[in-house]
Symmetry: C2
Subunit: 340 residues, 2 copies
DNA sequence: GTGAAAGCGCTAACAT
DNA sequence: ATGTTAGCGCTTTCAC
């Protein structure tokens, strides 16, 4: 285990000054060819790598982005994360990741730990608890410290910053319209994320689509909760008591459970029941029948967020107007809906 | 946007020296109560946070771990990652994450970018390409630079470092034994990860279990490839040509595709065909029928790896013996296998 | 009890 | 063409 090479050591061993070494290694024209070559070769021999921490201190910037993700097991977030990581790397940035586990406290703690020079800016999606409690002071504080934030997916109108979202409302409208075109009349709405901003937007889209098509809203066909276990129970009840010809599901848990319970009851999908759900990841394809989904292009969301943040970090503008980027979703027709 | 408070500024505003401020804020007994209080209150008022980069430079350590994950969309890796993140955070470490995307070049590039003081050590799982090419020089180089590495899951015997793995071989043996106890005689082995170390170990376990039970190995019932598309084709063929009563699948793709194709053919699971597969994540539960799995306790693997690395980083021992920790798997019986 | 000074590793303005 | 110096923000030893 060799001791780390530093400019100082190299300078001493070569009997030159530290700054000569520094300049030689950055190929400065100030230094003569022969010394340059001598120093560069010696540095390579010693496997010299400039200490990044020292450079960060000098530059007052770390080229590192702090990313806060509510739950990395959710394939949507995993996709966004991979988009952030790849765009950041492309631009020469590192990514420090924290998983908030949907906890407000962890979110606050993380932002506090990292906002001391460790990172140049944040990309985050608000935790469930934070959205429930509508507690956004920590975001505002960080921003007023001059650390930029880009929010994605789960955002807050109260916080002034760049945002990247999906057109949740419109996606819902068009998905439900699609079901209506398929001749579905009794479309159930199911959600186990009714505490999230995105869950509410999606539910509103359903209402809008039914209204537009003069279909009366039937409360009995709507399950909106934030508790997956409660959902399972109510879904069973719904299938037992009411006849439905479609399910519009706002999250992965409800998409898959609705299908599972329907299949168990012997209901044929898609012949007797069409199912469309918000879902990401490969699993919707792997199910039998495969699930028709609204896919959110997570990778693009991540890339857009990273691009936005890095642009902001690298612009010298004092004034900056905040933008909200909308990434379009895509309706992927698979085997849980009939073909038009 | 307030300018960041520094010791220097506080010192000037309070007409004391930098070192006094530093000591007062670290509650040193050298400083008198009144000045301490004055300084501490002023610092709080100014929202002073010690610059972490400066501290890192001083300490020659960053309390940051570099994590390299082949693919974060794989729920096994996502679980391991969340284990690493939580254990690291508990111990006061940050985590810089890179996704190698199974690429050797990205792996090398990442390790090069981070091994300049940015991180104190690495936790990683070897990329597919790296395993295929058996190219391990970059790992050895990093270790010889004095940066510790902990490998998990996809490891190499050629590299001398701490490791955390699953008992792939034994898990396979006992899973296949379970199928045999269920009275299965014609057990297919399917794998689309035959290029990975873990894939090979699991396949060996299958052979061992059949041998132990005096069941002849039938090559026609074995599909081992590293190409998912090729697998789909050969699986269809296998189902068409041969009668089988069980499938033992070494990865998620083959577990789910085997089930999907069998269901499509009208084969009843588990009555006519039992399926066990290596799988993680919630999706095995959500399938119809739910999939019996060998679950790998990804979170524990991540925690163990982080613990190992941090212990190494914080021990002053010059000499250190490398350990390989084995995390036991668990056979989760669900609806794709009959109950005993 | 307080302060000056050195040093972590590097860069860059400013000598020589 | 090379070297000296100061400084990034902090801690710590050593003077006073």
């Amino acid at each position: 285990m060799k001791p780390k090479a530093t400019l100082k050591q190299i300078a001493k061993e070569l009997n030159v000054s530290v700054s000569t070494v520094s300049k030689a290694l950055s190929n400065s024209p100030e230094i003569s060819e022969p010394t340059k070559i001598k120093i560069q070769e010696f540095a390579k021999l010693k496997n010299y790598k400039p200490n990044n921490v020292a450079i960060n201190l000098k530059n007052r910037s770390t080229k590192t982005i702090g990313v806060i993700i509510p739950n990395i097991l959710n394939p949507f977030f995993a996709k966004v994360f991979s988009g952030i990581e790849s765009k950041a790397n492309e631009k020469g940035y590192n990514v420090i990741t924290c998983i908030s586990n949907e906890s407000l406290e962890k979110e606050i703690h993380t932002m506090d730990m990292l906002s001391n020079g460790t990172i140049d800016g944040f990309i985050l999606s608000i935790s469930e608890e934070t959205q429930k409690k509508q507690e956004f002071k920590h975001f505002k504080d960080i921003i007023s410290e001059g650390i930029p934030i880009v929010m994605f997916d789960r955002i807050s109108d109260e916080v002034n910053c760049d945002k990247v979202v999906v057109d949740d409302f419109d996606s819902s409208v068009s998905a439900v319209n699609h079901l209506i075109k398929l001749d579905c009349k009794k479309i159930a709405l199911v959600s186990s994320i009714d505490n999230l901003s995105v869950g509410k937007l999606r539910a509103q889209g359903y209402i809008k689509a039914l209204n537009d098509n003069d279909i009366p809203i039937n409360k009995d066909l709507i399950i909106r909760t934030d508790n997956p276990d409660e959902f399972d129970f109510r879904m069973q009840e719904l299938l037992d008591k009411h006849e439905i010809d479609a399910v519009f599901a706002l999250d992965e848990h409800t998409s898959t459970m609705a299908m599972k319970l329907a299949i168990k009851k012997g209901i044929k999908i898609p012949e007797e029941l069409s199912v469309i759900g918000f879902a990401d990841g490969v699993w919707s394809r792997r199910m039998t029948p495969s699930l028709s989904t609204i896919s959110q292009h997570g990778v693009e969301i991540g890339e857009a967020a990273a691009k936005l943040l890095i642009e902001k970090l690298e612009s010298k503008e004092e004034e900056y107007t905040y933008t909200t980027t909308v990434i379009k979703t895509e309706l992927r027709q698979r085997d849980s809906t009939k073909k038009l």
